[in-house]
Subunit: 158 residues, 2 copies
DNA sequence: TATTGTTATACTCTATAACTATA
DNA sequence: TATAGTTATAGAGTATAACAATA
């Protein structure tokens, strides 16, 4: 059982991953900006694209957000014409949030940008190094108890 | 020359590194909380510990922050008794910000927590995997043009 | 004129509580 | 009583501009 070597914090796993992660979020936001989409908005839209209609509460749970903050976000997405609120006839307290065709188009356009982001973050890693890095990070994410696809950034600061 | 494989975004390098990075920042903040230190405050204090006295402008440049935001941060650190403002006699426009003994103690106490953070982020990686991960991330950081030790989180959102 | 530190203002985000309508 | 959605309010954090003192 070997303990982590005492490295300078600039070269520690913790600092490097958080430094690169923060820069990655910045680059993603810069890629999204021309489309007028926020990272938060894309989180909701891509979730809807993957799991069909959901209530605001279900979306909030899925993304680790509070339902209060989901209201304004859905307002914004509805104002852009990307989603619609449909009253749930079985439980009239809740809405079914559905992607519009325009919303589906936005998700597709953002998905086309993702390889660009991936290439930028990958930098000069060889194919083999790239797969190794993904495998190690995937293992770290699992050990940290992170849910696949759920970004802590969306959950706020508690 | 191989292009990045089209992986689901949850398993992409970009998503994984930003997901783990955001969680790492949360865990770091939780570790600092009992000491009453913010990540931002630690950034300034550790910078002062490493590079002796600096002006507020120099600190802001070193951390990628705006000097306007440094004022309140130094106010807070001075209120806690961790730093002191000394007028620079050679250029009376600026202050020399100096760590107090209490401030030095805070840096030392935080530094003692870093191995705990490193171990948590490392998770179940073997010694060899850990070194591989650090090497790959270090390479990625270099290719992204990140300055060693400078966390984009401190710079704000531009 | 330019720079350092400062202040003021607006804007974004988030956290909390409380309200309404439904169940 | 409990839940889904909503609203209001307060608090961080940041961005921008402008000011006083000094160079």
């Amino acid at each position: 059982m070997d303990s982590p070597a005492a490295v300078a914090y600039e070269q520690s796993l913790a600092f490097l991953v958080s430094q690169i992660g923060a820069r990655t979020v910045q680059i993603f936001a810069e890629l999204l900006a021309p489309l007028g989409v926020s990272a938060r908005a894309y989180g909701v839209l891509s979730n809807l694209a993957a799991a069909s209609t959901q209530s605001q509460q279900q979306l909030a749970d899925a993304l680790g957000m509070h339902r209060n903050n989901m209201v304004g976000l859905i307002d914004e997405l509805e104002g852009r014409g990307w989603v619609h609120r449909h009253r749930n006839t079985a439980d009239r307290r809740s809405f079914d949030i559905r992607l519009t065709d325009a919303g589906t188009g936005v998700v597709e356009r953002v998905n086309e940008l993702l390889p660009t982001l991936e290439g930028t973050v990958r930098g000069g890693l060889t194919g083999r190094q790239y797969e190794t890095a993904r495998g190690l990070l995937s293992s770290m994410a699992r050990d940290l108890g992170l849910r696949p696809g759920v970004h802590p950034y969306l959950a706020g600061r508690r």
